[in-house]
Structure formats: structure tokens, C-alpha cells
Symmetry: C2
Subunit: 436 residues, 2 copies
């Protein structure tokens, strides 16, 4: 690796960013020359013999995660502050050699799966500007798909680190809640918040996650077994999916089977019931606990859809919250009974890819539908890897491999069986540079 | 062990019960002849070669725990139901050879540390009928102290399995929350409820707890080290204690030191702050979630003090509950920082031994004071063993040895250093029979 390589790589990224024409993906994009200077300094360290596992990886950070010296907005200008310390996850990546490009747009306060709920602009899909990017980690997903960043941090409570991965045709790794420290994250729903990573390849995402996460528990499986048992819901249970999406899902299942997985049918009912608890139940009170008083004190400065959701949680009763915790425990037991001794669960990452106009017309209903398969994951204490699985209707189609808590390696290994190659029609003007 | 021995033991227990003259300790006392029949059947099993670790131990069960076929009232006649199955903890004791004598009185819905909040009567201290028994496991503690039952189940959220042990001069073991299954327990505050056991000797209590609890975790310490480091608050921090109680507490600490413990001073501030969260914060909403709708629907059928406490939790907001969880996490971190690498913490079990009249005059304030040292234990995820430690003002004085979660064995071993002998003036007319 030469200094010229790394500096050129930064310059190419900024060129790719211009070419991608999604300025709304960024809330704070650092000046190119500043990043070039960081690249030169990094290069000097590497030249001096430092071993940095992520040396020169270009990193975008969702703007609800602190990067020292850059404003954290959480998608709300009035909320902004400039932290002195970076989030632990960010610091670990930087310490491993990643270069921060800037902070990315998001559904405000990470409340949404659409990418439209931001005063910094609705983030447009990289391929079809009429469609949504997905969210809430909207900008992070788009800048990785565009070949600008190699890695991007997201956060994921209801699917924010997976839904945009599916739409943008990239990989989104959502680890077991608690394995990546959450210091420096603006909470959305603190019991279920999780820092995630996007990458174009599974290997890059896994490398980043190894750096971000605490050491793996001694009793955690290190790999999937040779013929993993994978639960697959039957076609007729995928109620929201179009026929072409169902076809794409079945094709993904067949790919797994051809790669040696043993498929087993599963009923999603307890998973879907748990999913509904996240927004339709009392847990949304955690969003009020996090930022509700700020929202109350800043009428007109908060996205109206987000303000409506958080404000509606103001008067949720604690007794109902406690009862929802009990209900969730029951559903967790039911779901794991359904799970049995399987190694993983294959689900479509989301239900459909709406246009921005469709979301504007029914912002809550469309958002809710998109979370059908993702919402339950953190509530049920599961890990997940969202990966591309070909196309449907000429657009990226994505599936998610779910595994038990602390079986993140199993989810990633099973996801690897799907191939995980970037889409043929990689839209970035930037050739994928093999670097470092 | 002959049939005559066991039957005679049952008959002696009923005689001791009459002699103790605390009929209010029982809500349901089984007919003596029914228990005698059970004793005969048990004797036949033992004679046939069955090995039962608790064969013939006479067991009293707090009336918020199910015993198949006996009503569960939780101290409220209108709430009563007759369960088909016994609580898991009860069933494990019965399977190990314990004989159930009946169901004991309690502060209604286990809400109290006094023993007076029951329509079945305020349970009187065994030695001084003007004073409270302590609660909420009032009847259980009294019938063990009276030599009627060998073992009694209590429950403990705020100190209900420890405070009455102190007043009655017996042992109360409060295991780590979650280690004894809570199936068949009427919840009080579900996150922090814990089934406990009373006995006259530490060994009997430990034997029962081994039977009741799930297998000990592989990483749990099996014993205290030879010279355990024990945290002891300085005399001047024990604000509520009289001089004679402070003397008794210091004497207990000296006994530990003489037995080989290394004493280390500790500031109780984070423990006392956590304690206040249990009733003065939002967690009391768990009590509303458990029985609030019943209380609302049965005006006049619930103890007025209990109805006031539970009713006040009706409108607690979920966001405040969530914030109290965050606050508790902070306090847990502070408390464990204060704890450091110590093995155990010695505290007075409670603050003073009030009269029934004092409680009637200020039912909430006195109750709150009594929980000063016990309230934080389950919130901070600690285990505890309450043991007698001599006398103060001519009445039993008790201390509690606290240990980390899953270090129950450490707490019990350190408590054993205190001697744990029954008080010299054992009030029961029944000699302690060595049996089995």
C-alpha cells in the first residue's frame, strides 16, 4: 500500500460521491482535503509498521452515533451537539485504521424504516430516485452501495440496519443486542437498540463487526455446522409479498439447499406477533423516554410523523409496558418452541420497495408493513445478517438469515451460502478496488 | 425413622402451634389428621427404600404461592382461587419429602414489610404480642420461629423474606433472583420477586434451597474463600439504628472478624439510593400490572394501605419506568464499584422493631424505614442470607450477609461464621427434635 494509493482512494470516493448524486445521503460530509490528510497520516503509521486490520477502509457513520468533533444531529438540527468523544464502536473502527468520511442522514431519531423522515431530505434509492432508500440508516446504506464508503455504521431497533441493505443491494449485519457497546448512540428504544454495519461484501462486514464487538462469549458457536438446518416460511405465509418477490425468496431458499442446507418449514405467527409489540404496544414509550421531552419542547422543529409517533407514547402507562414485557416473554417462548433445534431462519428482509410518493401518502402504514419481518428480531434476542439475493422486478431483492443470540457467526456462515456477490449492475462509477 | 416418630412429630407440631397462640399466622391450616395420613404415606415410601432428602420436614407455605388443592388468597379473600398445580418450588420440596402443613398469612399481595396489612389479622411477634412479626412473609416466619414448621416458604421483593427473619430470630435465605422458578407465585413486582425459605438453622435452609433452586451455574462460586473480605458500613452511616442496635451490629462484625473475615469499610450511598427506587420510583407500576385491575374492581375488599400503594401506581408513565431502569443501571454500576473485589457485605437486616400501634399510626413511613437496607438487594441483583446475631434491647437482632448474584454459597458460608445458633430463650414449647 503506498501513500498515493490511499490518497487516490479517498479522491476516488469523493468523485464517486459526486457521481452518485445523492447529496441528501450526508448530513456532514468532511472536506476531502481533511480526509486526505488523515489518509496520509494513516499511511505513515502503516509504513512505520503498525498493523491495522481495517487500514484505509472508508467509513460513513450514521448521524445518531458520535464522532468526536463532528455534530451529532440524530436527523434533527435543533437537537445537534458536538461530542468530545466518539462512540465506542466508531473509536474501535478508527483505532483499527478506518477513515471517517462523515455523518449520514437517517430517519429522525432513528424512527422509521423508510429514509424519508428527515429535514435533511428524503434519501432516494441509489438506482431509482423515485423510490425510498429504506431507513432509518438511509444515508449509510446508499453511500456504501454507491461505492463511496467501504463500511458504514447503522443502528437497528426495528430493522433500520437491514431494510435499507435490502433495497440498496448490500450486506447489513445486525449483531446480537449488547455485543457492540452502545456508548455514544442516541437511544431510540434502549432495550432493543443495536449498532450495525453495512458493507458491499459479507467478509468486509464481518471484519468490521469483529473489531466493533466485544469478545465473543466462550459458549457462542464459532461457525455454522456443515449441513445447517434452516427454517423457511412457506410461500403462502408471505402475505405482503408480490409473486415476483415470493419467487425470489424461494430461489434464495433453493440456493441454500443446493449449498447443503437442510430446509425445514416454519410458521412465523409468534415472530409476527412479537413484531407488532414494537410499535403497536407500549415499548414505544422508550422512544419518549429517550427524546420525548426534547420533542415536546421543540414543536415545529421535529419531523411531524416522528413527532406524532413519539408524542403518542407520552402517556403510555408503565403497567401496560410491564404487561407487554410479559407478553413478549410468552411470545419469545413460543417462537423458540417453533424454532426448535434449527440453526437459522431465512426470511425476506422486507415486504416491497415503495416509492417516496407511496410513503408520503401513508407514512405510518407503509413503514409498519416494511417492518413485518424485521421488527421482531431484537425483541426476540436474535442476531441477523441481511444479504442481497438476486433481483425481483429488476431491483435488488434481499433476504435475512436470522440466528440465535450470540450465534452471529452461524447467521453469517449461512448467509455466505447465498453467494453474496454484488449485483451485476453495480451502479457505482467506481471499480471495486482491492486494497491493503 | 419409624412411623410413630413421624406421626408424633406432626402431632407435636400441632400442639406447638396451639401453644404458640398465633392463630393469625395461618390462613389455611390443614386438618391435623390429613397431615398425619400424609406422614404415614411418606413413612411407607421411606420404609420401601426411597431416599428423600427432606423426608418429614414440616413445611409452611406463604399464601401467595400455590399449593394444589388449597386456596391461594395472597392475603385477600376476594382474590382467592384453588390451583390445580403447586408452585414449582413447593412441588420440588414435596417431591423431596416435605409435608405441607398449610398456607401462612402475609401482607396482602406481598406488599409490606410489617405483617399488619391483612384482613386475616395483623400477625403478632412470637415473643411480644404488641410488636409486629415483620412481613410480608409474616406467618411463615412466626410458625418457623415457634417450632411448628421446620421450613417455610416466603417471597421477597423488598425484604419480605429477611425482615421477619430478623424479628423472629430465624434464618431467611433470599437466593439470587431467577434461581428458584417463580411459576405458581402471585407476582408482586415481577422483575424483582424471589421465592425464599425460612428455617431455624442455616443448614436446614440451605438444604431446602438446594432442592428448590435450579442447578447452580457452572461459573458460580461453591464456597466462600478461607478469609473472606466482608464490607461493613461504619457505625455513623447506620442512621436509623438505636445505639443498642449499632452495638449489636458492631458485635456481629467483630464475630466475623474473629472467625477469619477481613473487614473493609463501605459507603452504602448507592445501595440506599437504589433502595428508594423500589417504592418511591416507577417500579411500583409492576404491582399495578400484577393486581391493579383486581384492586380497582374490588373497592372495599382490599386492605386500604395496600390499595393506596397499588392504586397510586395506576397512572405512572412508561417513560418514567424506562428512565428508572436507566437510573438503576447507573446505581448498580456505582454500587459494584463501591463493592470492588469484596466477597460479601454485612448489613443490619432492618432498622428497628416497631410495635403494631406504631405501624398503625404511620403505616407507609414505618414500612419504608424498615426496608432501608433490604430494598436494594433484588434491584442490584444480589443474593442475601438473613441470620440471627444475638439480641438487642432483649429482643432478637438480625444481620444480613449479601453476596453477588449466583454467589449464594458465599453469603451462606459467611453467615455461618456468625454462629447462627438459635436464641437461648427459644420460645417454643417443643424441644428441637433431631429427626430423620
Amino acid at each position: 500500500m503506498s501513500t498515493v494509493d490511499l490518497v487516490q482512494r479517498v479522491r476516488d470516493a469523493y468523485a464517486a460521491n459526486t457521481a452518485a448524486d445523492r447529496p441528501e445521503a450526508w448530513i456532514t460530509l468532511r472536506a476531502e482535503d481533511d480526509v486526505v490528510r488523515d489518509a496520509e497520516a494513516l499511511q505513515a503509521r502503516v509504513a512505520a509498521g503498525e498493523v491495522l486490520p481495517l487500514a484505509g477502509k472508508l467509513l460513513a457513520v450514521k448521524d445518531n452515533l458520535d464522532v468526536a468533533g463532528l455534530p451529532t444531529t440524530a436527523g434533527c438540527p435543533a437537537f445537534a451537539y458536538v461530542p468530545e468523544r466518539s462512540a465506542t464502536a466508531v473509536q474501535r473502527l478508527v483505532d483499527a485504521g478506518a477513515l471517517v468520511l462523515g455523518k449520514t442522514n437517517l430517519d429522525q431519531f432513528a424512527t422509521g424504516l423508510v429514509g424519508t423522515r428527515s429535514p435533511y431530505g428524503a434519501v432516494r434509492d441509489l438506482r431509482d430516485p423515485e423510490r425510498i432508500s429504506g431507513g432509518s440508516s438511509s444515508g449509510s446504506a446508499v453511500v456504501v452501495a454507491a461505492g463511496v464508503a467501504d463500511l458504514a455504521l447503522g443502528t437497528d431497533t426495528a430493522g433500520s440496519g437491514r431494510v435499507p441493505a435490502a433495497f440498496q443491494g448490500i450486506v447489513g449485519l445486525k449483531p446480537t443486542v449488547g455485543t457492540v457497546p452502545s456508548e455514544g448512540l442516541v437511544p431510540a428504544c434502549r432495550s432493543f437498540d443495536c449498532i450495525t454495519v453495512f458493507a458491499r461484501t459479507l467478509d468486509e462486514g464481518r471484519d468490521a463487526l469483529r473489531v466493533m464487538a466485544d469478545p465473543v462469549r466462550a459458549d457462542a458457536p464459532r461457525a455454522a455446522p456443515p449441513a445447517p438446518v434452516v427454517l423457511v416460511p412457506p410461500r403462502e405465509e408471505l402475505l405482503h409479498l408480490s409473486e415476483s418477490w415470493r419467487d425470489a425468496f424461494e430461489a434464495a431458499a433453493k440456493t441454500l439447499e443446493a449449498a447443503g442446507a437442510v430446509l425445514r418449514p416454519v410458521h412465523l405467527a409468534p415472530f409476527l406477533a412479537a413484531a407488532k409489540l414494537l410499535y403497536e404496544g407500549a415499548f414505544v414509550a422508550e422512544r419518549y423516554a429517550a427524546v420525548g421531552e426534547f420533542v415536546d419542547a421543540h414543536p415545529g422543529e421535529v419531523d411531524p410523523v416522528v413527532a406524532g409517533i413519539i408524542g403518542s407514547a407520552r402517556d403510555i402507562r408503565a403497567a401496560d409496558y410491564v404487561r407487554d414485557q410479559e407478553r413478549l416473554e410468552q411470545l419469545r417462548a413460543e417462537a423458540m418452541l417453533e424454532w426448535g433445534d434449527a440453526d437459522a431462519l431465512l426470511i425476506p428482509t422486507t415486504t416491497d420497495h415503495p416509492t417516496i410518493a407511496e410513503v408520503r401518502a401513508a407514512p405510518v402504514a407503509v413503514n409498519s408493513r416494511l417492518g413485518t419481518y424485521t421488527n421482531s428480531c431484537n425483541l426476540l434476542d436474535l442476531s441477523a445478517v441481511a444479504v442481497p439475493a438476486g433481483e425481483a422486478d429488476g431491483r435488488p431483492f434481499g433476504v435475512t438469515v436470522v440466528a440465535r443470540a450470540h450465534a452471529d457467526a452461524v447467521a453469517a456462515d449461512v448467509a455466505a451460502l447465498l453467494g453474496g456477490a454484488p449485483l451485476a449492475d453495480e451502479p457505482s462509477g467506481l471499480p471495486l478496488v482491492v486494497f491493503g
